[in-house]
């Protein structure tokens, strides 16, 4: 059964092809077996379906963004197209690599980055989701490498996490919501009344250990936007009331010091926006649908004040159908 050297030479290309084919097959299988994701952030499938360079404003950050910002409503109010490409508990490094990957298909005029990530740790518990849903790319690998141990392995070999779903795939339910219509927004219906005390209760998580590390990634975000000719706005969401005044002051000072970036503090605007503490919160960190509507109206006005003009080539029919979809969703 000896194999002659000459035949071995012929066999080498087959071996290389087999290895490459196997690697691609296993990676694709892993992606195929992942649950379809249309809401709660990391909605890359929907993002990549957007027509190239058709998004005016890109929102990045944590669940405070995908629960609170409604792109269809922004379009209805201003004609500006936007997308929320946030992720659950998205850390600063992940936000940076999300931005890098996002810019491969879109070139927005504005990038809004929700700033709570500045106080996040390296591991906020959702790295797997945030990384595994990213498209196959160098950014995916770099994002994984910046996360906690084990995520890089998962980014290369997602089957490790999702192979058991082979038995569920056949009976998988279609997601309740159409992600391409929501553009990254996640509607939350329930209302949980909040008091000044519950909102002001400082979250135990924020700490300073990773602050400088995160600030470095925010600096990179600002630099990338500047090099691409994009206006970068860091914002402190009204839902960030759980951070202490000192934390927010430090954060704003540091972000405002970044070259070419603006930083907005909206924590004190709850009353001005008209958010009703009894009816507009889903929990102490996120607004529900009604609260999100009010915040989005405020955002729309802010965008209008910036003088942002809608992209002339935007698919008006598509965006109107998104607005209709949103209202139908609310009615149902």
């Amino acid at each position: 059964m000896k194999i002659k050297k000459r035949r071995l030479l012929y066999e080498l290309p087959v071996l290389v092809m087999a290895l490459a084919g196997l690697a691609v097959l296993l990676f694709r299988l892993g992606c195929w077996l992942m649950p379809e994701r249309t809401t709660y952030g990391a909605v890359w499938t929907s993002y990549l379906q957007e027509e190239e360079n058709s998004v005016d404003v890109l929102f990045l950050g944590s669940s405070r963004v995908y629960c609170d910002v409604i792109p269809a409503l922004i379009y209805e109010k201003t004609g500006v197209t936007s997308f929320v490409n946030a992720g659950p508990s998205q850390t600063a490094s992940l936000t940076y690599y999300y931005l890098r990957q996002s810019l491969r298909t879109q070139h927005p005029k504005y990038v809004f980055v929700e700033a709570s990530g500045l106080y996040f740790g390296v591991n906020e518990g959702h790295s797997k989701t945030n990384v595994c849903y990213m498209p196959a790319s160098v950014n995916r690998l770099l994002a994984a490498a910046a996360c906690e141990d084990g995520i890089l392995e998962l980014a290369i070999y997602p089957l490790q996490e999702f192979h058991y779903r082979i038995y569920e795939k056949a009976n998988e339910e279609v997601p309740a919501w159409d992600g391409t219509m929501l553009c990254g927004y996640t509607p939350l219906d329930e209302a949980k009344a909040q008091t000044e005390r519950t909102l002001r209760l400082p979250d135990v998580r924020p700490g300073n250990e990773n602050y400088l590390h995160n600030l470095d990634y925010f600096r990179r975000i600002a630099a990338l936007c500047r090099s691409e000719g994009i206006v970068c706005v860091f914002f402190v969401s009204p839902t960030m009331a759980d951070y202490t005044d000192a934390q927010i002051e430090r954060l704003l000072a540091d972000l405002r010091a970044l070259p070419g970036a603006a930083a907005e503090d909206w924590t004190d605007l709850i009353e001005e926006i008209g958010i009703d503490n009894a009816a507009d919160w889903f929990d102490s960190l996120h607004l529900n649908r009604k609260g999100a509507e009010k915040f989005t109206v405020f955002l729309s006005d802010y965008l209008a004040e910036l003088g942002l003009k809608p992209t002339s080539g935007a698919d008006a029919a598509l965006w109107l159908s998104r607005v209709n979809y949103l209202y139908e969703l609310y009615e149902n």
Binding site: Y10, E11, V14, A18, L25, Y157, Q160, Y167, A170, N171
Partner: protein, 484 residues
């Protein structure tokens, strides 16, 4: 370090490169270092135990086989002392607590003494490999190895150290002394065998293991489901151990080395005696050579032969674990074989009357089914946590006389829709592979092809990757034989 991890794949690739590229002595140093890194990966201190076992058996063998003639009594004393050290270590690590527990039942003052000693992985395997070598030197079947490096490579050979196959110095040492030339067919064949072992372990054994573990873990099931679980455990332990053995043999084969086979389609057997000639062959071979034959084997009359069989299987039970249910398992296997030996002539007479396929095939099928059921019954004693659980399960099964069989409900044990089909397909492939092996036709012939080989390899690896039980959030099962 486990075979079914990415870490091992990287480790093995590195070892292969060094093994084939380095010159003779460097190559053996490389393999020795690899063996120790592999063994010490989870607990570095264990390397000392392995080194001690190696040094003791090496020194004793050199002494026994020294050129200056020793008296028989002296040689025997050296052998006994070395064996006492080896088995003393094994006893201290594995059996001390059981002995103290038993003592506690007899002597009230000794009750409740707990000695928390670590059970080093693979200790039973490398201890047996080292003592087997000592016996071989003592009997003059092999010259005492002069080169400590080569001997240390034999005792610690990484594919076999954790769960066998138990190596034989007389066949292994000559292999590493000769230059192993790169053989692509051997490498491909070894990797094919490794991939098939992965499917057996991750797909068949571990998926069956989730069902079996749920039942043994306390899930309330009907008598019929218990019967199914017991029959399925027979398959689980086979696929688990045969899977491991295939991976170990495959790794060695990829390096151009041969280690003993461990299985030869055991579940095709139509008697318990025949089953034990095909199951865990490296261990049964060890017991036959170093215990059964010295006890007199079958040469000292019927009664003595039966006693020898029972002794060997009781010791085999003890080797597997320091608990009474393992001894019960061993004795049951011994008793079945004694029964077969005592009824052999009657059976032969019956078989001579069963002429023609119309009678012979149903008879063989019946014998096969009976053998499988008896072996499964012994595995019940093996798998039960203790005698209490064994009694409980038997009580549950015997409950069928009061309340009937009940339905077969494997879903409640975790059998997912589609998993049964997958298990049937992979199980069918396993039966086919064993059938080929039983007929002396090795699937290794695939290694000399190109396209079919790579297609089969990809199919095996994808099957293991998609249907295997592994990864975070699951319950990956350790190899069953790692704890022995």
């Amino acid at each position: 370090m486990s075979f079914t991890t990415f870490l091992f794949f990287g480790f093995f690739t590195l070892i292969l490169l060094g093994w084939y590229l380095l010159p003779g002595r460097g190559r053996r140093f490389w393999l020795l270092a690899a063996n120790y890194v592999f063994y010490m990966w989870s607990m570095p201190a264990l390397g000392l135990l392995l080194l001690a076992t190696t040094a003791v058996s090496y020194g004793a063998a050199r002494w026994i086989g020294s050129p200056e003639p020793l008296r028989v009594g002296q040689r025997r004393a050296i052998l006994t002392a070395a064996c006492l050290i080896h088995f003393g270590l094994l006893f201290a690590c594995k059996y001390l607590q059981m002995t103290l527990d038993l003592l506690g039942r007899i002597v009230p003052g000794a009750a409740g003494i707990h000695v928390q000693l670590l059970l080093p992985a693979g200790i039973s395997f490398f201890t047996f490999a080292a003592t087997g070598y000592l016996f071989d030197v003592w009997r003059g079947r092999i010259q005492a190895e002069k080169n400590f490096l080569d001997y240390a490579v034999f005792v610690s050979f990484f594919p076999c150290i954790l769960a066998g196959p138990i190596g034989q110095a007389r066949s292994f040492l000559p292999q590493i002394k000769t230059r192993v030339r790169f053989d692509a067919a051997a490498l491909k064949g070894g990797l094919l065998r490794f991939a098939w072992g992965m499917v057996q372990k991750l797909v068949l054994a571990d998926n069956l293991g989730t069902l079996v573990n749920a039942a043994y873990g306390g899930q309330i099931v009907t008598p019929l489901t218990w019967i199914a679980v017991i029959l399925l455990y027979s398959l689980q332990i086979y696929f688990d151990f045969a899977g491991y053995s295939n991976m170990a043999i495959g790794v060695a084969q990829a390096m151009g080395l041969r280690v003993p086979e461990n299985f030869n389609a055991p579940y095709f057997s139509t008697s318990v005696t025949s089953f034990w000639k095909k199951w865990h062959m490296s261990l049964t071979g060890w017991f036959r050579e170093y215990l059964y034959f010295p006890l007199g084997g079958s040469r000292k009359g019927k009664v003595r032969t039966c006693l020898n069989i029972l002794t060997v299987f009781a010791v085999s039970g003890l080797w597997h674990g320091a608990a009474v249910h393992y001894v019960v398992w061993g004795l049951l296997n011994g008793l079945f074989q004694v029964w077969e030996r005592l009824t052999a002539s009657a059976r032969n007479r019956l078989e001579s009357r069963l002429q023609g396929p119309a009678l012979r095939w149903p008879y063989l099928a019946l014998r096969w089914a009976l053998t499988y059921c008896l072996i499964s019954l012994t595995w019940l004693c093996f798998r039960a946590e203790n005698l209490g659980q064994l009694r409980f399960i038997l009580g549950q099964i015997l409950g069928l006389f009061r309340s009937g069989f009940g339905g077969l409900d494997l879903r409640s044990l975790g059998l997912k829709p589609g998993m049964d089909t997958m298990l049937l397909i992979c199980g069918g492939a396993a039966v086919l592979t064993d059938a080929l092996r039983a007929r002396g036709r090795s699937p290794q012939r695939l290694a000399s092809t190109v396209l079919p080989y790579y297609l089969v390899m990809i199919a095996l690896l994808v099957t293991a990757a998609v249907y295997g039980v592994y990864g975070e959030g699951f319950n990956p099962q350790d190899f069953v034989y790692f704890k022995y």
